[in-house]
């Protein structure tokens, strides 16, 4: 049993987290699920045990409570082989424009918290000399849009953090993956207008993350169509971009 690998999923109760935990458990990983309310995660842990005959445990983790991060990392009985941050908060752009508290929460949930906790794990992984770190960022971070730039800017910061961390950690045997899922049919996007051909199911994201870890990919656009879409959007001159209703 000692040869079994362990994955830690931060933000464990989201649809993407559930799908990702399943993909790793199916591949034989033991799973640590962490979220604000550990009790809520227990049925998901039971699901993983029943389906895949792996060990699954639940842990309390609040991405906004940064002072607890050191204790959280030290408190895990096993330092995981893979840590995945799926924490994120879309928030409401309109509220975030004037409500500083809301804007702060969106920024901290998408950048400060995920970056700090993954940074802590990076130190441990580098000391050990192995490990994979996965940050779920967003295509929204590739270019600020009028409709969601508070969220997008935080994701942009997170993407930049991950890319810098990757450059540094790769020299120490630690691999960093940036995941940009695009539209995913989940609770977060329920009721939103999604573009069918660009939208994937959560299970597809889970598989993509597992693949990226196994193949040591650096940046993953879950649907390859997004890579093209964002290439075009990033290339648009600002003078044109600001006139687009986008």
């Amino acid at each position: 049993m000692t040869s079994r690998k362990t994955v830690l999923v931060l933000g464990g109760s989201s649809d993407i987290a559930r799908a990702t935990a399943r993909a790793f458990a199916k591949a034989g990983y033991d799973v640590q699920l962490a979220g604000r309310d550990a009790a809520v995660l227990e049925p998901d842990a039971a699901d993983l045990r029943a389906r895949y005959n792996v060990e699954a445990s639940v842990w309390t983790f609040d991405v906004l409570d940064t002072v607890s991060f050191q204790d959280f990392v030290s408190g895990l009985p096993v330092l995981p082989d893979v840590v995945i941050s799926i924490v994120g908060l879309l928030g409401l752009q309109e509220s975030a424009q004037s409500d500083l508290d809301h804007a702060t929460t969106v920024m901290r949930s998408n950048y400060e918290g995920p970056a700090l906790i993954l940074g802590l794990f990076a130190e441990r992984f580098l000391a050990r000399g192995t490990g994979s770190i996965v940050g779920v960022s967003s295509v929204a971070g590739d270019r600020g849009r009028a409709s969601n730039y508070v969220y997008g800017s935080a994701k942009a910061g997170f993407s930049a953090f991950l890319s810098g961390l990757r450059a540094r950690a790769s020299r120490g045997g630690v691999h960093v993956v940036t995941v940009k899922p695009g539209f995913v049919r989940t609770r977060m996007t329920e009721g939103m207008k999604l573009i069918g051909p660009l939208t994937v199911e959560a299970a597809v994201v889970g598989e993509a993350i597992l693949n990226a870890v196994q193949r040591q990919t650096d940046v993953v656009y879950v649907s390859n169509k997004w890579r093209l879409v964002m290439l075009i959007i990033k290339a648009l001159p600002e003078a044109i971009f600001k006139k687009l209703k986008f």
């Binding site: 199916k26 039971a46 699901d47 029943a50 389906r51 895949y52 005959n53 609770r187």
Partner: protein
């Protein structure tokens, strides 16, 4: 409000669709409006999975609670799809005991429709392998029901089309299997008599089903291919074959609604001829096939319901009691072939006794046909229904979208008992679907 339809895409009706995230929220959804029903993966053909006012989508509830790898018993949330069960537990040596013709149905839906498979004649329906279930009744209680405990609720829920309440969880038994392969033998028969004899002869086979060429007429009326199957052991696999094959996602999908002209008597005739000949070539010797094409031939074509175009199609599945079945089936087939636009997949199989109070199966032969929704098809099917009723048969509620109250009442004599149990679980009539409104709800003042 959202426009919703079943797999047959008729009828299309307005309903609120809710996606609760907890059992408590399901309770609130049911309590909040008179006229709610749960919906699994939407593979019922007609109006069974559509609430009178409000529809509760259950596919988000897809967790396993526990699994006993010794006995094969498993506790599941009702939204788990059979495809998920097969993919997850197949490689661990367990499959559902009963699967219908598609794997994309939920456990809750499979219980509610007491679905049957190619093994009903000897092993019964899905409900037979349900040990217990957790039901949220219209009255607001959450009860565990089994053959011993709340047994009325149990037998009304198996085959009860979701009308006793919302199935939240179930404990079911899985079948231990050595491989994911089926040893198949195809028998080709020249007419209906031969087909029925071949099915009778296949009674001892675990799986048996007949595909009927419903274009063949005259002396060839009812010519068929009979597919018999057994689970294959590890020793039978060719060297190097995976014990458990992979079920691919539908690779080939029908991307758009085909214009209704695509399906005409010529294209259907050509398809049937080709299908029959290809099958007849494989007749005789038994061979191994993966469970996926064996059980779920249509699942390999994603969105195949779009073949019938925007107006959709009607499935007509009846069961005719054994005695006198030959004449009635011959009469139905003759009318269908004369009509010319039916069904490029007509299926005949034997059924045994059903388990639930409203379960569709009864000992006899079941014939499934589909018809594009056009012209005078409704009138034509009423005509077929009269033959079914006269023969003491009934129609399958999971596939029905149009039968009359009279046809339904004649076919389901246990209806009064079902209604009494439903009333005791839901005195205020909170649980109602478009199907129950159409077929047996008392008219609301």
């Amino acid at each position: 409000m959202t426009l919703v339809s079943g797999w047959g895409r008729f009828p299309v009706v307005d309903t609120d669709v809710l996606r609760p995230r907890s059992f408590a929220a399901i309770g609130d959804a049911v309590a909040g409006a008179s006229g709610t029903v749960a919906r699994g993966n939407g593979r019922a053909y007609g109006d069974a999975g559509i609430g009178a006012i409000r529809t509760v989508a259950m596919t988000g509830f897809d967790r396993a609670r526990w699994f006993d790898p010794v006995t094969g018993r498993i506790r599941l949330e009702a939204g788990v799809l059979l495809s998920d069960l097969i993919d997850t537990f197949g490689p661990r040596g367990f499959l559902p005991f009963v699967v219908p013709g598609t794997r994309f149905v939920s456990v809750g839906g499979a219980i509610a429709a007491d679905v049957h498979g190619k093994n009903h004649h000897c092993e019964g329906g899905f409900g037979r392998y349900v040990d217990s279930l957790l039901l949220r009744t219209g009255q607001g209680e959450t009860i565990e029901a089994s053959r011993e405990q709340n047994s009325d609720a149990f037998f009304a829920t198996v085959g009860g089309m979701g009308l006793t309440g919302v199935i939240l969880e179930a404990t079911i038994r899985l079948r231990p299997v050595a491989t994911g392969w089926i040893r198949e033998r195809v028998v080709s028969t020249s007419d209906l008599d031969a087909a029925m004899r071949a099915l009778d002869a296949g009674d001892s086979a675990t799986y048996s089903v007949a595909w009927i060429d419903c274009v063949a007429r005259g002396s060839e009326l009812g010519r068929s291919l009979i597919y018999l199957g057994e689970h294959a052991g590890t020793g039978e696999l060719p060297h190097g074959a995976d014990a458990f094959p992979v079920g691919n996602d539908p690779g080939l999908a029908v991307p758009v609604d085909l214009p209704s002209i695509t399906l005409n008597r010529y294209s259907i005739r050509a398809f049937n001829e080709l299908y029959y000949r290809m099958g007849a070539r494989r007749a005789g010797e038994s061979h191994l096939v993966s469970l996926f094409p064996y059980f779920f031939p249509l699942d390999s074509v994603g969105g195949w319901n779009r073949i019938y175009g925007r107006r959709g199609f009607l499935q007509h599945q009846c069961v005719i009691p054994e005695h006198g079945a030959r004449d009635v089936l011959g009469d139905i087939l003759e009318r269908v072939t004369k009509r010319g636009d039916a069904s490029f997949l007509a299926v005949l199989k034997k059924l045994g006794q059903g388990d639930g109070i409203l379960s569709f199966p009864m000992p006899g032969y079941t014939l499934a046909l589909d018809f594009p929704m056009r012209g005078d098809v409704l009138k034509f099917l009423d005509e077929i229904d009269r033959l079914v009723v006269a023969a003491g048969g009934r129609l399958y509620l999971a596939k029905d979208a149009r039968q009359s109250r009279a046809t339904f009442e004649a076919g389901y004599p246990a209806l009064q008992r079902f209604k009494a149990i439903r009333k005791s679980l839901d005195p205020a009539g909170k649980i109602r679907s478009k199907l129950s409104q159409r077929l047996f709800d008392e008219v609301q003042p």
